[in-house]
Amino acid sequence: MASIQQLKQISTQVRRDIVRMVSAAGSGHPGGSMSSADVLTALYFGEMNHDPATWRRDGAGQDAFILSAGHIAPVYYSVLARAGYFPLSELGTLRKFGSILQGHPSVRKGLKGVFQPSGSLGQGLSAAAGIALGKKLSGDPNRVWVLCGDGESEEGQIWEAGMFAIHHHLDNLVAMTDWNGQQIDGPVAEVAGEGDLKAKWEAWGWRVIVADAHDFEAILKAYEEAKKGLGTGVPTMILWRSDMGHGVDFMAGTHKWHGKAPSAEQCEEALRQLGETPLGDY
């Protein structure tokens, strides 16, 4: 497992990748990608039981991860590449014709690490619940992770899946919500009224953990806490308190960078703010 210092370095590099990938593609979703960079880095480099060398789509013998909020593919792709699922050079092909890195995650282009396509919102929690149930039926003790958005949680299917997972005692399922409070049309509170997600998930009967998404000690602690769900018969929800666009001052805390590519100048400025890492750019 990587040290906190190493995790910081990786997530900084992941943010650099995100900015460069989206800027080069000329479109994409940097805001939510940046807000989830730390938790996904900690997941793939610290918590998940996974091995790119033996990865199979059926997930046998390993943990599985589903990105329900498929539009934050840039962070997902960067973390997968940095974790060794495919060559870093592929990151420069994001959204380009013929790329394994489709605008939203696909299982059709030979991209290792992806279990199900996503992009149409609200569906990943159901798929993750299905994989979790499949693992239980097959006697596979590994866990299933899924990352949703808080805006995405306006989709009714998220709550259908929430009901299903508790009813079927899927304690091998850890769902996470990137609670950055922003969605494409504005703050979640203004667009649809996010309400108290903690109270809502607790009312659904889930174990709920709320943690700071940009503090690695808090992140790792939340993952330790999540682990205690195994054996309880109850699924776990981690609500990540995060900032959209975290790491670059002009992108942070606003919905305006939900789905906008930085210009060449903005990209340069963002990279200057993030600083270089020994890991190097792709």
Binding site: Q116, S120, Q123, S126, A128, A129, L137
Partner: protein, 317 residues
């Protein structure tokens, strides 16, 4: 002309239930999921024999589709069952992303399809589901004609690796195909050979087509009847060959015009062997309450209408 004997009326959904049980006995990866319609989908026997492989999802079809896709990712063979409208129109996007685009090995068991659902009325009588499922790349679409064929098609769907839409119905209808005949996906079945007109049909309309051929025979007209239970992939060779022989075609289905078997056959023939066609289908309408028999007549889907359509097709030669 070959004689078909009704060995006793049975509902096609019970054929599904029997096929599901047999497929479940043959392969432990087979699972059954439903959205609070276990009894309607005839999953009781499967659920009793394999309680751990029966997954009740409650009235939440969208989630059921996603759960099934996830189960399929792990190597299971899930059948999801509900009424035709609720496993197609209600969850089209979920089926599109999680099942079709994800190419997960999910079998969509679609009961109570078409107008013969009867008394429940238009909210439940989908006549558009074939169109929706045909539109999805790579989706296999099957609408068997009776109990025996539905049972065999269910077993074939379990063995097939990939998404399948399996459509069947609620009413008791004649059971006339052989009990032990394996179902071959993508293969047309010539029920009767004839020379003057070809009647292509699927689902409940196959029996009506056979009865129509008897009406036509009495009038000296030789009708070929072909069961196109697999609507996609369509047996194009069989369609072209028969149309080339008879040069007059009827396509009969318990579905509306838009996107149904009729348009599938018309597309093949227009591109390969332009042939006069008359369509027997629901047109561009919603259903309504009534008995299945009343509705089949009112919507022009019974044997008399099929025979009439055949004569009209011949007159267009």
């Amino acid at each position: 002309m070959k004689q078909y004997i009704d060995t006793g009326k049975k509902d096609t959904r019970s054929g599904f239930g029997a096929g599901l049980l047999e497929a479940g006995r043959a392969d432990e990866r087979v699972l059954a999921l439903t959205a609070d319609l276990k009894g309607s989908l005839k999953m009781d026997a499967f659920a009793a024999e394999f309680p751990e492989r029966f997954i009740q999802c409650g009235i939440a079809e969208a989630n059921m589709v996603g759960v099934a896709a996830g189960l399929a990712v792990t190597g299971k063979i899930p059948f999801i069952g509900s009424f035709a409208e609720f496993v197609t129109g209600r969850v089209y996007d979920q089926v599109r992303q999680e099942v079709a685009y994800g190419h997960t090995n999910v079998k969509i068991a679609s009961s109570h399809a078409g107008i013969t659902l009867g008394e429940d009325g238009a909210t439940h009588q989908t006549m558009e589901d074939i169109a929706l499922m045909r539109a999805l790349p790579e989706m296999v679409v099957i609408n068997p004609c009776d109990y025996n064929e539905t049972k065999a098609a269910t077993i074939a769907a379990a063995k097939y690796d990939g998404p399948v839409y399996l459509r069947f119905g609620r009413p008791s209808v004649p059971n006339f195909t052989p009990a032990d005949k394996p179902f071959v996906i993508g293969k047309a079945d010539v029920m009767n050979e004839g020379n003057d007109v070809t009647i292509f049909a699927c689902g409940h309309l196959v029996w009506e087509a056979i009865k129509a051929a008897e009406i036509l025979e009495a009038k000296g007209v030789s009708a070929e009847v072909i069961n196109l239970a697999t609507i996609k992939p369509l047996d194009e060779k069989a369609v072209i060959a028969s149309a080339g022989k008879t040069r007059a075609v009827v396509v009969a289905e318990e579905h509306n015009m838009a996107g149904g078997l009729g348009e599938a056959v018309a597309g093949v023939l227009a591109a390969n062997a332009p042939t006069p066609i008359v369509f027997v289908n629901g047109g561009d309408r919603f259903g309504q309450s009534g008995s299945p028999a009343e509705l089949m007549t009112a919507y022009g889907l019974d044997a008399a209408h099929v025979a009439e359509a055949a004569e009209k097709a011949i007159s267009k030669k």
